[in-house]
C-alpha cells in the first residue's frame, strides 16, 4: 500500500519538477513547483514525519511560493517580453547543471552499501519526539539557526528601509 503511494508520489514529484522547467508560462512553472512541494510533503508523511510535512506546506507552499507567485504575476512575463539569454550564459548553465548532476550521482552511488543504523520507528517524526530531540540534544544548533533567521529578518528590514529615505 505505502509502496504504491510512494511510486505515485515519486512519479508526480518528478513530473511536476520537470513541468517547472518545461512549461512555457512562468505562472504555470510556479504552480508546478507548488504542486511539487505538495508531493514532497506527501513523502514526508510516508516517512512518518507529519510535523515536517505540515510545516513544509505552511512555510514553503503557503508563504514562500505565494511571494513567488506575487512577483511573477506583477511582472506579467510572457513569451514576447522574455529577455533573450546570451549563449555564454546558456553554456555556463549547462556546465554547472551537469556538474551538479555528476555530484548528485556520485553521492547517491556511494549510499548503496550503507546499512540502516536503527530500526525504523513509526513515532520518530511526531511533534513530541521531534521537540524533545530539538530542545534537548540539538539545543545549541537550533538556537544558532534561530539567530541566523533573526539576522536575515533584520537585514531585510534594513534593505526595505533604505528605499524609503
Amino acid at each position: 500500500m505505502s509502496k504504491i503511494a510512494f511510486f505515485v508520489l515519486a512519479f508526480l514529484s518528478i513530473f511536476s519538477a520537470m513541468m517547472v522547467v518545461f512549461s512555457r508560462k512562468p505562472v504555470h512553472s510556479v504552480l508546478s513547483l507548488i504542486f511539487c512541494f505538495f508531493t514532497i510533503a506527501g513523502h514526508y508523511i510516508l516517512l512518518n514525519a507529519q510535523f515536517l510535512a505540515a510545516v513544509h506546506i505552511i512555510v514553503y507552499a503557503g508563504a514562500i511560493m505565494v511571494l513567488f507567485l506575487f512577483v511573477i504575476m506583477l511582472l506579467n512575463l510572457n513569451a514576447e517580453s522574455e529577455p533573450h539569454k546570451t549563449s555564454a550564459g546558456k553554456i555556463a548553465a549547462v556546465v554547472s547543471g551537469g556538474l551538479l548532476l555528476l555530484v548528485l550521482v556520485s553521492v547517491l552511488k556511494s549510499t548503496d552499501g550503507l546499512q540502516l543504523s536503527a530500526a525504523p520507528d513509526s513515532q520518530v517524526g511526531m511533534v513530541k519526539n521531534l521537540g524533545m530531540v530539538l530542545y534537548d540534544k540539538y539545543m545549541l544548533p537550533f538556537e544558532v539557526s534561530a539567530l541566523l533567521f533573526l539576522t536575515a529578518m533584520i537585514g531585510a528590514t534594513m534593505i526595505g528601509k533604505k528605499e524609503l529615505d
Binding site: Q50, I57, I58, A61, G62, F70, M73
Partner: protein, 349 residues
C-alpha cells in the same frame, strides 16, 4: 478497520460534508435576514414560508446562468481558481471534533473524522493553500481589478496568518498539544480557554475575520474601488463557488474558535446531569452547534455594523498592533506557566 467502523466513518464524513454545505447555504439566507433586521427591512420573504426556500432559488439561478470565460483568460487556471477555493473550504472540517463519542452496540465511535496529532497545523496548512484559489482566479481573469483584488487578498491573508499562528502558540503552550480534540478535552465544564487566554482569543477572532475576507477586512472585494475584486470576471456557478466558499469558511472558523476557546462540545454541568453517555454526547454536539451559530451571527453582526478599513490601516493593524500583541501574549503566558510550574515544584518538595 472493521466494516462497522468503516460504515460509521463513511456516514460521518458524508454527514459532516452535508451539514457544512447546508449550514453555508442557510448562512446566506441568515445573512440577508440579519442585514434586513439591522436596516429595518423585511428581507427575502417570497420563496416559501418566511423566504426559507430562497437559498435553493439562488442556487438554481446560479446554475442556470450563462457561463462566461473571458477570451483572454487562462482557461485552465480560470477554472482551477474557484475549485481550489471550494476544495480548501471543505477540507478543514476533517480535524474538527464534532462531539465526544457514541456507544453503539457496546462499541465506541469517536465523532470526529480523524484526530491528527498536528490538527491545528493541518488547519493552518489548508488555510494557507486557500490563498491560491483567490490568487489564481484573480490572475487568470486577465483583468486589472481582479489582479488588484487578488494581490490585496493574498497580502492580507499572509499578514494575518502570522498573527493568527502566534496567537495560537500561547494556547498550545498552555495545553501542551496540537491536537484539536485534546485541546477541547482540556477545557471541561466551564474551564474554557477564553477565560485564561482573553487576549489570544481576541487576536484569533480578528485574524479569523481577516482570513475569511469578511467586513471590516473585505478589501479584496471592495466594490467601490475594485468593481467586484478578484471575482469580477466570474459568472454563474464559478462565482457561486467563490461566494459559497466564504460562507463555508465562516462556518469552519466559527467551529474552530468554539473548539479552541469555548470548550467545543463541553458545557457547564453537562456531565453532572446524569444522562446516558450517548445522550450527553448528542447534547454536547447540539450545544456546540449553538455556540457555532452564535459566532456565525457574530460575523454577520460585525459585517453590518462596522465599515471597512482603508488598506494602509489594515496593514498597520496586522503588522504593528496584532503581531506585537501576540508576542506579548506569548511572553506573558510563558512567564505565568513558569511561575506556576515553579510553585507546583516547591509545593511538592
Amino acid at each position: 478497520m472493521e466494516t462497522a467502523d468503516l460504515i460509521f466513518k463513511i456516514v460521518f464524513v458524508l454527514g459532516v460534508f452535508g451539514v457544512s454545505l447546508v449550514i453555508a447555504m442557510y448562512s446566506t439566507y441568515a445573512e440577508r435576514k440579519v442585514a434586513a433586521f439591522f436596516q429595518d427591512r423585511i428581507g427575502p420573504n417570497r420563496a416559501g414560508p418566511f423566504g426559507l426556500l430562497q437559498p435553493l432559488a439562488d442556487g438554481v439561478k446560479m446554475f442556470m446562468k450563462e457561463e462566461i470565460i473571458p477570451t483572454h483568460a487562462d482557461k485552465a487556471l480560470f477554472i482551477l481558481g474557484p475549485s481550489i477555493a471550494m476544495l480548501t473550504a471543505c477540507m478543514t472540517s476533517v480535524v474538527i471534533p464534532w462531539g465526544s463519542s457514541l456507544i453503539i452496540n457496546g462499541k465506541e465511535y469517536v465523532m470526529q473524522i480523524t484526530d491528527v496529532n498536528i490538527g491545528i497545523l493541518y488547519v493552518f496548512g489548508v488555510v494557507s493553500i486557500g490563498v491560491y484559489g483567490i490568487m489564481i482566479g484573480g490572475w487568470a481573469s486577465n483583468n486589472k481589478f481582479s489582479l488588484l483584488g487578488a494581490l490585496r487578498a493574498s497580502s492580507q491573508m499572509i499578514s494575518y496568518e502570522l498573527a493568527m499562528g502566534m496567537s495560537i502558540i500561547a494556547l498550545v503552550m498552555m495545553t501542551g498539544t496540537l491536537s484539536i480534540r485534546e485541546i477541547v478535552e482540556s477545557q471541561p465544564g466551564a474551564h474554557w480557554n477564553v477565560f485564561v487566554q482573553p487576549l489570544g482569543f481576541l487576536l484569533f477572532l480578528i485574524c479569523a475575520f481577516a482570513e475569511t475576507n469578511r467586513t471590516p477586512f473585505d478589501l479584496p472585494e471592495c466594490e467601490t474601488e475594485l468593481v467586484g475584486g478578484y471575482h469580477t470576471e466570474y459568472s454563474s456557478m464559478k462565482l457561486g463557488f467563490y461566494l459559497f466558499a466564504e460562507y463555508i469558511n465562516m462556518f469552519i472558523s466559527s467551529a474552530i474558535i468554539v473548539c479552541l476557546y469555548f470548550g467545543g462540545y463541553n458545557f457547564p454541568f453537562l456531565n453532572s446531569l446524569g444522562l446516558s453517555h450517548n445522550l450527553t454526547a448528542i447534547l454536547g454536539t447540539v450545544l456546540m452547534f449553538g455556540k457555532i451559530f452564535f459566532f456565525i451571527f457574530f460575523f454577520m453582526w460585525v459585517r453590518w455594523t462596522i465599515p471597512r478599513f482603508r488598506y494602509d490601516q489594515l496593514m498597520r493593524l496586522g503588522w504593528k498592533i496584532l503581531i506585537p500583541l501576540a508576542v506579548l501574549n506569548i511572553v506573558i503566558t510563558a512567564v505565568v506557566l513558569l511561575f506556576k510550574y515553579d510553585l507546583w515544584n516547591t509545593s511538592i518538595n
